[in-house]
Each structure stands twice: as structure tokens, then as C-alpha cells.
């Protein structure tokens, strides 16, 4: 419809309501007005008794007749008549005049000639009669006066008759007029109603059109959503393909690693020279790091494809923190940093969480903090969320280099590192924060960060971890290894290095292993010999792990019931589900480790549960595993100690001292500072432990002085801090400062040895 309302389709409910109200107002207001007019008219007629005019005129005429009759009677009466009765008749007649001349609607008559003429004549009559009636008794007996009145009345008679007729006509005119008005208003009402109907119909038409348009839009949207769903399905299929590719790749890359790491682990047992041991350590560290990096990349892929699932179980929170603390403390100490980790007292003990992933987040944030903090301290705190919120809050605070707002903005983006120049020196994949944030979000939380360049950064992680009941104590088996019998194990593994590794591993565990290269061979062997368990690699030529399992389950006899453990590096949850569907009993992850395998065997009911306490078991199945889940789990590798030595010792000052003092004096001096139990550091620590404030103050002051002389920068800083706290404030000197002092002492001594070494060279 071309009504000039092209945007009708965009009208909202309010606009429709407004338009409708307006329409109703436009039609109902005149209708209401007409009704009001009619009501007023009827009331007016009723109040003013308009139609009584005719009655009044008739009554006037009648009263005149009665007066004339009375006067005639008085004239003809033989004796005197009652003058007052005559006067009363006259007065009644006069009262009738007012009823015609003073009523509200006298205008109906006033315009007519008859009315004016008659009223004039009546007034003339009254002027004549009034003086005569002033003395009614005299008038009653005076026939001459009575005769005059009668004579004056005579010509009034036809006039009053005319007036009555005129009144009748006036009323009729009034009624006609009123009827005409009513008719006119009736027509108006009909017109308005018709208009209302027409406008309503237009509105209905527009509405119908609007609805039709919406229906068309709805159909289009449905079609679009259908197309989108199809596109999504295609994209998902593509993504699934990608995840399969990733799983395959992870297998291809990690299989040699399994061999490499396994071999390195085995080598460790052999007797090696210290140099060889050192090379071996480096090789293992590198391999572990590489595996960690690989895992990071895999994490990102799985997070991206949405296939990563958290496997939640009751987790002992303080335990996790303690464990991470144990690993990270080393890295912090190596770098000369203080790492303080606190678990709040009111922290829920057991929560439902994925311990592995929780640990990964902690490792990432703390290792980042250590990486980017040249000196000072890192503090990690795990507390309950503030009042009214559920969950826990992890705060990681460092005194590192900090970040500017621009850096903060891009911090969580992939491969981004705060300082590109640092990249080579510090290393790392740059995936850690992205992974952590995704994991935290999966746990129903988020990471916030605030930082100031040169001051430090604070990462705050909020996690929704539902509290859980502590799992019931499991029976701890008496034997440490949990190994009770020798098992006959069939291993299907195509990779020669892995084959070798697994052979040694199983041998060490005391099991009897038979090897084959693929599923087909495994089936043949199963038909010929009896085994307790089959270890199947997921990826194998000819017949892969799943297909082999299916085939095994289809075998005749007891061989079909054999326990199947699938060895896989595949982290895609999909795979596990499919594996369980085809009849796999257990899983062991690649690279295969003794503990892992032991547990898998135990879960199959072939062995007793290995001798882990239930606490540790619940913490994580691979809490102390030799392989890193992420590159961030590894101790931070420091390029060079001398890098931080500058922060510890002012070389210039120290060189001066060395040059000035004989060697034994210097040794003596150092002893007074460092050697227990008389060394100032130790005395100060003892005072700290006892809480003797004045002793703390004195010794801190003394230490500060000596260290300033020697140029032990970090010790000066810390002792000055302790002194300040002890003497200038009422605060308790934190124990952490004592620990920091001790650590700095060790580092300083280390730096001094390094210094001497260089001097010697």
C-alpha cells in the first residue's frame, strides 16, 4: 500500500499503540461531544420546561375569561359582591402575565408580532385596572367602574386567543428546530462512525500487510539459518578433519620423543662420568622443553576446536599449591627471587576441578612472573572469592618490569610476548597466557591483569571451583610397587624406538612381553598364545588400535575377553569415547611411563593399585611425572648467573675492598657476616625467629653497614627494609623477609665465588 508510511514495518508496539489511540481520539472526541450536546439539550428542555409556554398562554387566556366572568357576575349581581374575591381573581390573572414575560425561554414568543401587541394591550389594561382595584370594596359596589373594566377586557379576548395560537406555533417551531438538530447530530454520529470503521479497516489492512511482510522475513530468516547451519556443519567437519590431522601429527612427532625420552631415562641409570651426566641432563632438558612446547601447541589446537574437555575430580587445593610451590621455588631461587606462595586459611580444602589444568594455569602465571622479574619477589596467593561470590581467587604479584597499557591490551593474543627483545633471552612459546585464559574461562572464571611499567604486574584469576567432599581413604596397598605377579603382555607397536623403550620398561617392571608390529599380527598371536593383557598403539599400519580391539572382541573363546589398554598420545576426547565404545578397557598415555602403565594395569584388575596414597592419587595421576604438560611447567632456565650478579653485588665496591684488604682479613670479614652461628645474618635471623625487635633492629643496622661497605646490594636493601620495619613501625617483620635474606646470602656467596673464579682467570 502506498500510504506514505514506508517505514510501517519498522513500527514498534509503542508506535502502533500511539497511532491507534490517536485514531480513537479523533473519532471518539467528536462523538463524545455530540453526546454531551444532546444530553445538555435534553436537560435544558427539562429544566426550562420549554413546552409549557403554550400551557402558560392558554392559562393566561383562561384566567382572563374567569376574571371577565367574575366582573360580569359582579355587575349583574343584585347586591354587593365580595371585593376581595374579585381582587384575588385579578391578581391571579396578573400572576399569569409574569409567567409569560419572565420565564427563561420567553424569547420564543418575544419575536412575534402577536406577543408584542398583546403584552402592550395587557399593560394598558393593568394601568387602567390597578387604580380601580386599589380599593376592592368600593370597586365591587361601583357598577360603572366594573363596566369600564369589562369594556377594557373585551378587546383583549381575541388577542389572547391569538397569543395562545402563536405560543402553540412557537413551541411547534421549537420542537421542529430541536428535531432538526437531533437529526443533524444523528447524521454526524453516523458519519463519524463510518469514518471510524473506514480508518479501522485501513489499519487492519496495514496490519495484515505488516504481518505478511514479517512472515516473509521469517521465512527468509529460516532459510538463512538453515544455510548457516549447513555451513556450520561443513566448518565443523573441516575442523574435525583438522583435529584428526593434529592428533595424527602429535602421534608422529611424539612417537620419536617417547623413544628419545625413554632412552634418556634409561641412560640415567647407567654409570656415567660427570661430564656425560651433564650432557645427558642437557639433552633431557631440551627434549622435555620441546615436548612442553609441543603440548602447548596441541592445547591451543584442542581449545580452538572445542574438543578439550576438563576431567574434573575432587582435588586438594592446598596440595596443588604446595606441589607447584615445590617446583617453582627452584626456578625462583636460581634467579635470586623470593617466591612466596600462600593458601588462605579459609580456603576450601577439596574442590571439584581438573587438577592437571589447574596446575597448568598456576605454572604458567608463576613461571611468567619469574621470567619477567629481574629482581625482587613473586607472590602467589590463593584465597576465597570476596563476600557474596563463589569460587577462589588466585593472585600472582611480581616486582618485575611491568607492562604499558598497549602491551596489556595485546597480552592475551597468540604468540604475543610483552617484549620482543626479551624473546630470545627468555624464550617461551607465547601461547601460555592464551591457553591459561581459555582454561580459566572453561572453569567459569576469568583472568584480569593490572600492571605498571617498572613497578610490577598483578594477575588475578577468578575460578568457579565447586567445593567437594574429601574422597574416602582408599586402602593403601602394603607393597610400594604394587606389583604382585608377572604378566604376559602382548604389545603391538610399529615404531622401533618405542618398541625398544617399551621392551626395557616392561622388563624392568618384571613382566613378560611379546611384541608385534601391527594389529593383524597381534590377532594372530592372540589366537596361538594366551596373554593377560594387550597394549595396543592407537596408530598402527594395517590394523589400527581401535580396529584391532573390535577384531579382538569378535574372536571366539576366552581371547575375546582379554583386557585391552590403548596407548595413545591423542588428547582429543572424541577418541577416548570411540575407544570405549569398541571395547577398550583402559588408556595409557604416550610417552608411556611405568607409573601410568602400572595404574592402567591395576584398573584392569590385573595388579593391585600402586602404593600411592589416595591423596596423591587424587591430586593428579601424573603429579610427579617426568614429562611436562606445558613448557611453562619447566624450571626457568637462566642464561647466566652474572646477569643477576650485578643486582647482588656492586662489583666496583667489592673490587676496591678486595684490593685494599689482605685475603685472610677479607675472609674474616666475610665470616663475620655469613658464617653460622656468629655471622650477622644468622644472628639477625635468630632474633627474627625470637621476635626480639630491638635485637632485630640492631643487627639489621649492623648488617646493612657491613654490606654497604662490601657492596652487597640486595643484602643492603633487605636489611634496610628489616631495620625500618623493626625500628620505625609497629608491624611484625614478616618471616618471608628472613627467608629472602637467607636466599640472598646464598646467592651473594655464589656470586662471590663466581667473581673469585673470574679474578683467578
Amino acid at each position: 500500500m502506498t500510504f506514505g508510511w514506508p517505514n510501517l514495518a519498522r513500527w514498534q508496539g509503542r508506535q502502533w499503540a500511539l497511532a491507534l489511540s490517536l485514531l480513537l481520539a479523533i473519532t471518539l472526541v467528536p462523538l463524545g461531544w455530540i453526546q454531551w450536546r444532546q444530553y445538555r439539550m435534553l436537560e435544558y428542555v427539562s429544566v426550562n420546561q420549554v413546552d409549557s409556554i403554550m400551557w402558560q398562554a392558554y392559562q393566561l387566556e383562561r384566567e382572563m375569561g374567569r376574571l371577565e366572568h367574575s366582573v360580569m357576575e359582579a355587575i349583574q349581581a343584585p347586591g354587593p359582591v365580595d371585593g376581595y374575591a374579585l381582587l384575588e381573581r385579578y391578581e391571579v390573572f396578573l400572576s399569569r402575565i409574569d409567567l409569560l414575560t419572565k420565564i427563561p425561554r420567553r424569547d420564543l414568543l418575544e419575536t412575534s408580532f402577536e406577543y408584542t401587541a398583546t403584552i402592550t394591550k395587557i399593560e394598558a389594561f393593568v394601568a387602567l385596572a390597578d387604580p380601580l382595584f386599589a380599593d376592592p370594596l368600593a370597586l365591587a359596589s361601583n357598577r360603572e367602574q366594573l363596566g369600564r373594566i369589562d369594556a377594557a377586557l373585551e378587546p383583549l379576548k381575541p388577542l389572547l386567543g391569538d397569543l395562545t395560537r402563536e405560543a402553540n406555533r412557537a413551541v411547534a417551531r421549537f420542537v421542529d428546530e430541536r428535531n432538526a438538530q437531533l437529526q443533524q447530530q444523528g447524521m454526524l454520529v453516523i458519519g463519524l462512525a463510518a469514518m471510524q470503521i473506514v480508518v479501522m479497516l485501513i489499519f487492519v489492512g496495514l496490519l495484515v500487510q505488516h504481518i505478511r511482510k514479517q512472515q516473509r522475513q521469517y521465512t527468509r530468516l529460516q532459510k538463512l539459518s538453515h544455510e548457516l547451519a549447513e555451513a556450520r556443519d561443513q566448518a565443523e567437519a573441516a575442523n574435525h578433519g583438522k583435529s584428526i590431522f593434529l592428533a595424527n601429527m602429535s602421534h608422529e612427532i611424539r612417537t620419536p620423543f617417547q623413544g628419545l625420552l625413554g632412552m634418556l631415562n634409561l641412560l640415567d641409570d647407567a654409570s656415567l662420568s660427570s661430564q656425560q651426566r651433564d650432557y645427558l641432563g642437557t639433552a633431557r632438558d631440551s627434549a622435555l622443553h620441546l615436548l612442553g612446547v609441543l603440548n602447548d601447541i596441541l592445547d591451543v589446537s584442542t581449545l580452538e576446536s572445542g574438543t578439550l574437555k576438563l576431567s574434573v575430580a575432587p582435588v586438594h587445593l592446598p596440595g596443588v599449591l604446595h606441589e607447584v610451590d615445590g617446583l617453582m621455588q627452584v626456578a625462583a631461587r636460581d634467579k635470586g627471587l623470593t617466591l612466596n606462595m600462600y593458601a588462605a586459611a579459609d580456603l576450601p580444602g577439596w574442590v571439584t576441578a581438573d587438577a592437571t589444568r589447574l596446575r597448568q594455569i598456576l605454572f604458567n602465571l608463576i613461571s611468567n612472573a619469574i621470567k619477567f622479574t629481574p629482581e625482587g619477589s613473586v607472590m602467589a596467593e590463593l584465597t576465597r572469592a570476596p563476600d557474596g561470590q563463589s569460587g577462589v581467587v588466585l593472585t600472582v604479584r611480581d616486582t618485575g618490569m611491568g607492562m604499558d597499557p598497549e602491551t596489556l591490551e595485546r597480552l592475551f593474543t597468540r604468540f604475543y610476548q610483552a617484549d620482543n627483545s626479551l624473546r630470545r633471552r627468555i624464550g617461551g612459546t607465547g601461547l601460555g597466557l592464551e591457553i591459561s585464559r581459555n582454561l580459566v574461562r572453561m572453569m567459569g572464571g576469568d583472568i584480569e591483569v593490572s600492571s605498571r611499567p617498572g613497578v610490577g604486574s598483578v594477575f588475578t584469576v577468578r575460578l568457579q571451583l565447586p567445593e567437594a567432599l574429601a574422597p574416602a581413604e582408599e586402602h593403601v596397598s602394603a607393597t610400594d610397587s604394587g606389583q604382585t605377579r608377572q604378566l604376559r603382555v602382548l604389545v603391538a607397536e610399529d615404531h622401533p624406538i618405542n618398541l625398544k623403550y617399551m621392551s626395557i620398561l616392561l622388563n624392568k617392571m618384571g613382566h613378560e612381553a611379546t611384541f608385534c608390529e601391527n594389529g593383524q599380527e597381534a590377532l594372530q598371536l592372540l589366537a596361538m598364545h594366551t596373554f593377560d593383557v594387550v597394549l595396543l598403539d592407537y596408530h598402527m599400519p594395517v590394523l589400527d588400535g581401535l580396529a584391532t580391539t573390535e577384531a579382538i572382541r569378535r574372536l571366539d573363546g576366552p581371547a575375546s575377553q582379554i583386557k585391552v589398554i590403548l596407548v595413545t598420545a591423542d588428547v582429543v576426547n572424541d577418541t577416548r569415547k570411540r575407544a570405549l565404545d569398541v571395547g577398550v578397557n583402559e588408556f595409557a598415555s604416550k610417552p608411556l611411563q611405568a607409573d601410568d602403565l602400572q595404574r592402567a594395569l591395576a584398573r584392569c584388575g590385573l595388579l593391585d593399585e600402586p602404593g600411592h596414597s589416595s591423596l596423591l592419587g587424587a591430586l593428579n595421576t601424573r603429579a610427579s611425572g617426568p614429562f611436562p604438560l606445558s613448557s611453562y611447567e619447566l624450571p626457568v632456565r637462566l642464561p647466566d648467573l652474572s646477569h643477576s650478579a650485578a643486582g647482588l653485588v656492586d662489583t666496583e665496591s667489592y673490587t676496591e675492598i678486595v684490593a685494599m684488604m689482605p685475603e685472610d682479613s677479607l675472609d674474616e670479614l666475610l665470616k663475620t657476616v655469613f658464617d653460622p652461628p656468629e655471622g650477622t645474618v644468622h644472628v639477625l635471623l635468630a632474633a627474627l625467629a625470637e621476635g626480639d625487635r630491638s635485637a632485630v633492629g640492631d643487627n639489621a643496622h649492623k648488617l646493612k653497614g657491613t654490606c654497604m661497605l662490601m657492596g652487597f646490594r640486595s643484602l643492603v636493601k633487605t636489611s634496610a627494609q628489616i631495620e625500618h620495619l623493626a625500628t620505625q613501625t609497629q608491624e611484625v617483620v614478616p618471616v618471608a623477609l628472613g627467608q629472602q635474606l637467607l636466599r640472598e646470602m646464598e646467592l651473594t656467596q655464589k656470586a662471590l665465588r663466581h667473581f673469585e673464579l673470574r679474578q683467578a682467570v
Partner: protein, 171 residues
């Protein structure tokens, strides 16, 4: 016991009869001037045979009330003053359901007794504080307070407003 009661009742009846005969003059004085209103029918107090007659003084002696109202007979609202019709009827101890009112001009209308209690109907003797001559619808004018209720502004009640009132017959 019964005999005593009967005798007492009889004595009371006699006493009352005596009172009503001799007390008529006491309860309702005879008009001293020209009578302008006579009441007949079911009334107790009488001062002239079957009738009770009132002169203007007696009407004035009753409690006076006034209101201003518009009417179809005057082109502007006017003030009416006079005793309540109920007071007039009470003065003669009238009891009945209908009052037949008659005017000097022989106009006749029936007023239900209910109106008397329901509305503040007055027997006006003054319009705008001036006594009313016969030629101006006097001397007595029964008026309803038309402006006080919509239902009064109808022909029924306009008819009952009788002017030049001269007699009331209680039935």
C-alpha cells in the same frame, strides 16, 4: 389484675379525649388575621371545625428555612424562604400518604407524603426576602430544592411545585 388494667385504660382514654377537645385551642391557635391556608383530611390538630386554618403570622412562627434555586418560572435563580412543608404538616399532626394541594387559581396537584421527608420541600412565603403578592404567585409557594438533585429537574416535580397555594387535603 385484668379488671384494674381495663379500668385504667378506660380512664386514660377518657382523659385523652378530654384533653384533645379542650387542648385543641392550646395546640393550634385560631388565626388572628385573614386565613391564607387551610388544611383538611387526616389531621389531629384543628382550629375551625374539620379544618386547621393558618394566617401569615402562624406560618411565620414556624421554623424558617431558605434556599436559592433556579426554576422554569424565573429567568434567574431566586431565593425562597418559608417553613418546611413537613413542619407545617407536623403542626397539625397530619398522617397520610397523599397531600392534595389546591391553588387560588384552582390548580390542583397531588404530592406524595414521601417527598416531604425525602426532600427539603418548603412552603415559601418570601422570594428574595420579600413577601409574595398574589400577582407574583403568592402568598404561598411550595418549592422543591431543584438545584440539589437531578431527579427533581423533571416535569413530575415541577408540577408539584404549586404556587398561590390555598389548601391542603391530607389523605
Amino acid at each position: 389484675m385484668t379488671a384494674t388494667t381495663t379500668r385504667r385504660n378506660f380512664t386514660t382514654g377518657l382523659l385523652l379525649a378530654g384533653l384533645s377537645i379542650s387542648g385543641a385551642a392550646l395546640a393550634l391557635d385560631a388565626p388572628k388575621e385573614r386565613a391564607i391556608l387551610s388544611i383538611t383530611g387526616k389531621i389531629v390538630e384543628k382550629n375551625a371545625g374539620d379544618k386547621a386554618r393558618f394566617d401569615m403570622r402562624m406560618i411565620e412562627a414556624l421554623p424558617q428555612h431558605s434556599f436559592t434555586t433556579s426554576t422554569p418560572w424565573f429567568d434567574k435563580p431566586v431565593k425562597f424562604t418559608g417553613p418546611l412543608l413537613s413542619d407545617v404538616l407536623a403542626a397539625v399532626k397530619a398522617s397520610g400518604s397523599q397531600i392534595s394541594a389546591v391553588a387560588i387559581n384552582d390548580y390542583k396537584i397531588s404530592i406524595p407524603m414521601g417527598d416531604v421527608g425525602k426532600y427539603k420541600v418548603i412552603v415559601a412565603r418570601q422570594i428574595d426576602d420579600k413577601s409574595i403578592p398574589v400577582r407574583e404567585k403568592g402568598p404561598l409557594f411550595v418549592v422543591y430544592p431543584f438545584d440539589s438533585a437531578a431527579e427533581l429537574r423533571t416535569s413530575t416535580y415541577y408540577e408539584r411545585s404549586i404556587w398561590q397555594l390555598k389548601a391542603l387535603d391530607v389523605q
